[in-house]
Each structure stands twice: as structure tokens, then as C-alpha cells.
């Protein structure tokens, strides 16, 4: 494990502990832990084990998946503006989930599987439209178009919903975030996120080699078709699983790789692990912020709002930065 990775893991560990201590209401965490360990029935024990712990774990897995997907997409498309939110992956997953709700096969792994399929189709579509070696702008514009199309299709499905119950189900699903989930949701999300992450890690060497362009990477022994398949499957699995549980959370996948790229010496392959750790830390920190705001400010907001408030200015800065120095 490299030094930056160790530091990020340590930071994540600290945030994990902190996250168990922070909630909308203060609870004696040690007492709650003791209650759980002794199997003594207590409300605070339940709050710790069935509210805070799953919420924390979901934030970690979702953040890690967003971070690693962002890093993988940026490396593969050699485009610093690529991220699951901007190129339509998250919208695709959301659309898939809404389709599952609309047609009534949302039970069990229905929503995550539909989310994976939606994420895969949307990402592939943007990739096919934007091409491989086109400029940054084409990719972003294709992403904007696909995002708009998918948002419109979701609205259309809402309008055409067969019953008010379906509408309600879809709306409730669309309002979800990383709060209000139990371990059942965590277990629904984990396999796809884990498998997706593993597939992406298998692209490490290829992503490094792709720094020299697709043709040179081929002469370095990289099987481009296999890399593409692994990458799109990995992103689809991870994002489909995460978005179907937490809803779309913007900007984590964009910011994280950027912040950590210097620590990875700009190597796209090395950036994957760091982005997973960093994304997990970033989303968990944002969620802790949300809970603190709720506790001391009395306002409840979704974590996606915090990441967007931080991420949107960062995104604008990135665009301006790259307009000034296109290299």
C-alpha cells in the first residue's frame, strides 16, 4: 500500500468512527455499543446498529464506487471532465430503476439490475456518440443530451404511470438519498458495487498504457476490446447498484480523481484505489456534515445537495482552467 493510500485509509477510519458518533440526536455511543455486544435490547443500540452503521457503510461503498468509476472513466476517456454524473451513467441507472418500478418488477434485485442495465446503455450511448479520441467538449455535450433525454423519459414514465400508487412509488424512490436505509439495502448494493470495482481494478495496467493513446497501448499488449468490456461492465455494475439505492449523487466521481491525481503521480491506474478511498471519505464527510446541519441547524437536506454545492463551482473552475490551458 502506497503512502497516500495509507493516509487516506487512516482518514477514512477516523471518519468512520466519527460517523458513528454523529447523528440528528446525540446518543451515548459506547453505551449503545456495549448494549449491542451484550445483546441487551435498547433503543440506542438499535439506533447505532440499524441506523448509523448501515448509513455509514452505504456512504462508504457509494462514495468508493463513485470515486473509482470517475477515475476509471477519466482515465479511459482521457478526459478530466468525465464522471458518472456528467456522461449519463447515473441518469441511465435512475431511468433503469424507474422502468423497473413502472413495470412492477422492483422487488429484490429488480431495481439494482435494471439500474445496471440503464447505466450500461447510457454510458455506451454517450461513448458511441462522442467517439474515442474526440475532444472534451463532444463528450460533455453528448452527456448533456443523454442526461436531458433520460430525465425527459423519467418524467414521461411518471406522467404515463398506470396508477397513483406507481407514481407515488417512483416519486418516493426519486427522493432517496443515503439516509433512511437499513442493512437490507446495504446488502442489495454491495455485490454489484464490489464486483464492479473489481472489474475496474483489472483495468489498472490498461489505463496506464492508454495514457499513450489506444494504438500505442495496443502495441504494449493491451487488449482494447477486453478493456472496454471490463470498464463498461464495471461502471454499469457499480453505478447501477449504487444509484438504485442512494439515487444519483453528483460530483463525487468528478472531484475525487481530480483532488487525488497528484498523489497518484497522475497515473490513471494508480488513481483507482486512491479514488475509491477518497470518494468514500468525501461522501462520508459530506454526510456527516448533513447530520451536523440537521442536529445544530435543524434543517434536513440530502447529501447530494452538499456534494453539488461543493462540486458545481469546482466543475466550473475546471472548465475555465481547461479553456485556458487546453493541454
Amino acid at each position: 500500500m502506497s503512502r497516500p493510500a495509507r493516509l487516506l485509509a487512516l482518514l477514512l477510519g477516523v471518519l468512520f468512527v466519527l460517523s458513528l458518533f454523529v447523528g440528528s440526536n446525540p446518543i451515548p455511543v459506547f453505551q449503545a455499543l456495549l448494549d449491542r455486544l451484550r445483546d441487551a435490547p435498547s433503543a440506542i443500540g438499535i439506533v447505532l446498529a440499524e441506523v448509523r452503521l448501515p448509513r455509514t457503510l452505504i456512504a462508504i461503498v457509494a462514495g468508493a464506487a463513485l470515486g473509482v468509476c470517475g477515475a476509471a472513466l477519466q482515465g479511459f476517456l482521457h478526459n478530466p471532465l468525465a464522471s458518472p454524473g456528467l456522461i449519463g451513467t447515473s441518469s441511465g441507472a435512475a431511468f433503469g430503476a424507474v422502468v423497473a418500478l413502472y413495470f412492477g418488477f422492483a422487488g429484490g434485485y429488480g431495481i439494482p439490475l435494471a439500474g445496471m442495465l440503464g447505466a450500461l446503455l447510457a454510458t455506451l450511448l454517450v461513448y458511441l456518440i462522442a467517439g474515442r479520441d474526440t475532444g472534451m467538449l463532444t463528450l460533455i455535450l453528448a452527456g448533456v443530451a443523454i442526461n436531458a433525454l433520460l430525465t425527459a423519459l423519467i418524467s414521461l414514465l411518471l406522467s404515463l404511470a398506470p396508477s397513483p400508487y406507481a407514481v407515488q412509488e417512483i416519486v418516493v424512490w426519486m427522493l432517496r438519498s443515503i439516509s433512511n436505509h437499513g442493512f437490507d439495502d446495504f446488502w442489495l448494493m454491495l455485490p454489484g458495487a464490489l464486483l464492479g470495482g473489481l472489474l475496474l481494478f483489472r483495468c489498472r495496467r490498461a489505463l496506464d498504457a492508454l495514457t499513450l493513446g489506444e494504438d500505442t497501448a495496443t502495441t504494449l499488449g493491451i487488449d482494447l476490446r477486453r478493456t472496454r468490456a471490463l470498464l463498461f461492465a464495471g461502471v454499469a455494475l457499480a453505478m447501477g447498484s449504487v444509484v438504485s439505492i442512494t439515487g444519483a449523487i453528483g460530483f463525487v466521481g468528478l472531484i475525487t480523481p481530480h483532488l487525488l491525481r497528484p498523489l497518484a503521480a497522475h497515473r490513471p491506474g494508480r488513481l483507482l484505489a486512491l479514488s475509491a478511498l477518497g470518494g468514500a471519505g468525501l461522501l462520508l464527510a459530506a454526510d456527516i456534515g448533513v447530520r451536523l446541519l440537521q442536529r445544530f441547524g435543524g434543517v434536513e437536506i440530502k447529501v447530494g445537495i452538499v456534494t453539488a454545492l461543493l462540486g458545481a463551482p469546482f466543475f466550473l473552475w475546471l472548465i475555465l482552467h481547461h479553456r485556458r490551458s487546453p493541454a
Binding site: T218, T219, G221, R261
Partner: protein
């Protein structure tokens, strides 16, 4: 490696016949120069030989059909240096060069050691930790050549490696390629400078319109007749082509072995 040969290579792109029945053979220790006017298909030929561009015909490495080699095996034996290859992230020079060691799946320490040794040999040791995007055009070209050499390829396919370089660096690059041949490897190089080609290459192949015009040793190929056929240029009366395109200088300081 013993020999590398291509037989009757054909490349068609968008219904245009870019390469027509090209034959090519290079043996271990040889430098084979591809010479042609712009647009004759030199780069396409090199890409086809590198396996980047699909082509009809046969390409054999020591008698084994190239398409039957695994991508990894091919990567260990053949390196391709693109004319102006992109470097998408601001990696350090050492990192870029180390990418060519990837197919060897060796320990990172060994890669570092080999990379350092190569960069020193290429006169780039001082730049090892510099970021690629801070280099001059000439430095970038030399780094990319070092990158291609780092995999210790038995066959190096180099597309205009001297294009962005000043005179002394052109000689330095050609000497590096020559040294690579002397270690029992082969080089196929695209060149525009007939002086360099005539001086450093063992064999030259003139292409025109996607076909081979002539192939042979420099004295056989650099003649008034073939220059006129390939480039539509005519030598002044009484001048000898080989003499006109001869290279009469060598690097003084480094005293590179400059001849063939």
C-alpha cells in the same frame, strides 16, 4: 529474432487502396529504411506491421504468423514508435518510459533500474523526474524513442523519429537506433532525410502510391533515376546522387559510431 517479413500486404481504407502488395524483409541486426513522398503509405505500412491497422497478406516473425502471437508476446518482441504519439496525462519521463516494461510483468524495482539505465544511455537522465508536458518538442521526441526502446524489442518500428529534432539530435537518435541493431535487433524506420537514410540504413525501400518502387542497399536505391521517379526531382548535370545525399559529418563530442 532471425527475420521479420511481410508478404503481399494490402490495406484498404474507405475503399481507397492505401497499400498494394507490399513485400518487406528485415533480418536481425539490420536497419531498414522506408523512404517515400508524403502520403505514399509509409505510416500506414508501419501501423500494419505493428498490428495496429488490419491488413491483408502475411506478416511473419521468425516464420510465425504475427496474428497467431498473443498480444503480450507481440508486445515483448515488437515496439512501435508513433510519429506524434499523444501523452494524455502529465506523467514524469521515467513513468512514461517505464510503460514499455509493462508487458514483462517484472518487479517495480527492476523496471526502475532498467528505466534509469536507459534514460542515461539516451542522454535523458537529467529529465527523469520532469513532467512530459514541460519538455520541448525535441525532448519529447527523444523521450518517446526511449519509451519505445525500453521494452528491449527485437523489432522496433519507428515512424519519423528524427522529425522534430535539430541536427545533432537527429544524429544522436540515428546512432541510438544503430546501437539497437548492433545488439542483434532489427529496426524499420520511416525517414524523410535521404542523407540519414543512406548513411545509417542497411537497406532502403522506396514507396510511391502505396506500392514498392524499389528496394535495395543505399547505393542501389539512391540513384538519379529512382529520385526522379519517386520525387520528380532532377539532379544537376554531372552530380552523383549518392554523393549529393551523403552525410559528411559526425557527432564530435559524443563520438558516436556514425557509420553502418
Amino acid at each position: 529474432m532471425r527475420d521479420f517479413r511481410a508478404d503481399r500486404l494490402d490495406v484498404v481504407i474507405d475503399n481507397r487502396h492505401i497499400l498494394k502488395a507490399i513485400d518487406l524483409r528485415v533480418r536481425a541486426g539490420e536497419m531498414h529504411g522506408l523512404i517515400a513522398p508524403t502520403g505514399a503509405g509509409k505510416s500506414t505500412l508501419l501501423r500494419a506491421l505493428a498490428g495496429v491497422r488490419p491488413a491483408a497478406g502475411h506478416i511473419r516473425f521468425d516464420g510465425v504468423e504475427l496474428s497467431t502471437l498473443s498480444p503480450l508476446e507481440r508486445a515483448r518482441r515488437i515496439a512501435w514508435l508513433a510519429q506524434s504519439g499523444p501523452v494524455h496525462w502529465p506523467l514524469s519521463i521515467a513513468q512514461i518510459v517505464a510503460l514499455s516494461r509493462q508487458p514483462w510483468h517484472e518487479a517495480e524495482a527492476l523496471t526502475r533500474e532498467k528505466t534509469t539505465r536507459l534514460l542515461d544511455a539516451c542522454g535523458l537522465g537529467d529529465l527523469a523526474e520532469r513532467r512530459y508536458d514541460t519538455l520541448s518538442g525535441g525532448e519529447k521526441a527523444r523521450v518517446l524513442l526511449a519509451r519505445a526502446l525500453a521494452g528491449e524489442p527485437e523489432l522496433l518500428l519507428a515512424d519519423e523519429p528524427t522529425a522534430a529534432l535539430d541536427l545533432s539530435h537527429q544524429l544522436e537518435v540515428m546512432a541510438l537506433l544503430r546501437a539497437h541493431c548492433r545488439r542483434g535487433n532489427a529496426v524499420i524506420v520511416v525517414l524523410h532525410d535521404l542523407r540519414l537514410a543512406g548513411h545509417y540504413c542497411d537497406r532502403l525501400q522506396f514507396l510511391k502510391g502505396g506500392s514498392t518502387l524499389v528496394s535495395g542497399t543505399p547505393p542501389q536505391v539512391i540513384t538519379a533515376h529512382w529520385l526522379e521517379t519517386a520525387y520528380d526531382i532532377r539532379l544537376r548535370e554531372g552530380r552523383d546522387a549518392l554523393e549529393a545525399f551523403s552525410l559528411n559529418w559526425r557527432l564530435r563530442e559524443r563520438n558516436y559510431p556514425a557509420n553502418r
